[in-house]
Symmetry: C2
Subunit: 374 residues, 2 copies
């Protein structure tokens, strides 16, 4: 990016009172930053309140220094080209972020910027997890990475760190293993305990921030960046979370963005499971394994195949009669009548027999499910 | 009950091939047992298949001996009158059982038969629970009993036994603490380890069986009696259960009977939680405390009060503005607009502020929830 172009974008983000929503509205109204800053106060006031229009006319304090800082930071990249400032107007800007109301105007990115942003899942959770919670985060992340998904998290201590590490363990060479969305400037790794982890992430993934270089850890920035974690992901898994926690904010943002929210249950006596249980009560999907999550993700990867809809119906009949027709998914009596042609009363008698034998379980909602042996 | 009357009912239950459904149909068609046995084969064939009609014409083998056995058993009750044979035609028959397709024709009951069957909750679960599972069963049962509910279970080892014990601990003197629905004849306590518990239950509750005196523990009878456990209860709580388990059958029957199914979550690595998680995936209600269950039961006890609908709306405004209007239940933005009259955009800004302060959580489905301090 040319220094002048960079200066225009930085000026937009550094102008006091101009947030991501207002910046996007200005860009939509006038075009690129030079065009925005070429407007009169009157024109700007068509889009933003007078005080903000006034602020846009003056160059913000410290702009020249910040342009210098960013240019130096880009130049110091090792390997060369591994640091990026990605603007809303850049084709490399992650499309998932464009679907939210307040996409960051600029993203600072360190790592190998992908041509196409990969399918990703967020894993978030407590900074004070249980030992089992840490293991779960690591194992789920490893499985997601092995399945070819990028794991997005927030580089925090606890669940976040374990998720990044699991993804680094599981990813194929060359894959974008994991993305850390941080709440500080990219020149300020936080927490310091994750400095080595951040270096490993940059080698096999990305570290991303919306905050200007030099931004220290500030409490309000952490929940705010959570919307980026969920927006970069097709779903968000909460591994362990207390009731008052940033993870619940991320989960809420994921749900608002129309994404799946998954939660791992735990003991009713564990404070670290209360947040997950609250989410589950509100309709989040209970998951016991990475497979549970991956099954929900399939529709996004291609047309989903109903295991029993067509040809399988017949072959099942040949295999093992009713048990074959049952398959291993929950199924209603009506669906079984349709699949097998057996009269409802006979079917119910047969199902009771299987139930008493332990081959079939009766589930809430009048559904039956075949139980796998062993 | 007169010996002749008893003989008629016993003959109905002892006639080979006549199950609970057929018996109920015969009673509905012809009246009390003497009327049934006064019919011709032709008349009986209007209701049951020819082979069953034929069987009804002959007195079943061993009837006289069984009448003697039951009469002796009733006579031997200590205290006198504490043993009962309750027929479908008896006003003391539990109304909850009349709503299922195959209510038992006879119930053998030991304990003080109630004039009105009390509001009850079933607690079921694994015969091989974790130590925490046992404690949970006991604590939930104690809380339910303290709240005035009768706890119904199956007298099995593990969760069932702990539930009965918790209910005995928690119930007020004179209350019907707990009901054990067993799968053997009432003269055959099973398992033997629960003999002392069964005696305590009879003193403060009921032991109930649909099986003739002398019936030994037979595998198919145990899942079958589960329908009685769920039918006597307004809801069924599964504390811990493996995937293949009788508890899931009980839960399925409860759901089929239109009753609530509650499940306690646990570690995803605990086999004893898999059944609960399967139920939760299918829509059972996740509960973390007895209070969670009692809140769901309230509508059955009387009209439910919406904590924020009417007068509270105003007082909340006086109390603490928006936080008061939020209450502690999840609430949608639309509902908050209606409650407060604040414009949606302003409301969202305010909610974000609370969220960042940790006073409000954003939940899936666009809901907001106030978080209690401490």
């Amino acid at each position: 990016m040319e220094r002048e172009e960079l200066a225009g974008w930085l000026r937009l983000t550094l102008t006091p009172g101009i947030g991501d929503r207002a910046a996007r509205q200005l860009l939509a109204a006038f075009g690129l930053p030079p065009a925005v800053f070429g407007q009169t106060a009157a024109a700007l006031q068509q889009v933003v309140p007078p005080s903000q229009a006034q602020a846009l006319l003056a160059e913000p304090e410290g702009l020249a220094r910040q342009v210098e800082t960013v240019a130096d930071w880009l130049r110091a990249a090792e390997p060369a080209g591994s640091r990026h400032v990605v603007t809303l107007a850049d084709p490399a800007y992650p499309p998932g972020l464009l679907n939210i109301a307040d996409p960051p105007v600029l993203l600072y990115v360190q790592g190998a910027l992908p041509a196409i942003w990969p399918p990703a899942l967020a894993i978030v959770g407590s900074r004070n997890p249980t030992p089992q919670g840490l293991l779960n985060a690591r194992e789920f992340a490893r499985s997601f990475a092995q399945a070819g998904l990028t794991v997005v998290s927030g580089l925090a201590l606890g669940i976040d760190g374990a998720a990044h590490e699991g993804a680094l363990d599981g990813a194929a060479p060359g894959a974008l293993a994991t993305i850390a969305v941080v709440g500080t400037g990219l020149d300020r790794v936080y927490p310091r305990q994750h400095l080595a982890l951040a270096h490993r992430i940059v080698e096999h993934g990305l570290v991303v921030s919306e905050y200007p270089l030099g931004t220290p850890p500030l409490a309000p920035n952490f929940p705010k960046r959570n919307r980026i974690i969920s927006a970069l992901s097709q779903g968000t898994l909460v591994v362990e979370a207390a009731l008052k926690s940033g993870s619940l904010i991320t989960a809420g943002q994921a749900a608002e963005q129309g994404k799946d929210v998954f939660a791992i249950p735990g003991s009713i006596h564990s404070p670290q499971s209360r947040g997950c249980h609250a989410l589950l009560k509100q309709g989040a999907k209970l998951v016991e394994s990475a497979q549970d999550v991956l099954e929900e993700m399939r529709p996004l990867e291609g047309p989903r195949r109903d295991a029993h809809a067509d040809s399988d119906g017949e072959s099942a009949m040949r295999e093992d009669g009713l048990l074959g027709a049952l398959g291993f998914d929950p199924v209603s009596l009506d669906a079984l009548v349709a699949r097998t042609g057996i009269a409802p009363a006979d079917l119910q008698a047969k199902l009771l027999e299987f139930e008493l034998r332990g081959d079939v379980a009766r589930l809430p909602g009048g559904l039956f499910q075949r139980i796998a042996a062993g």
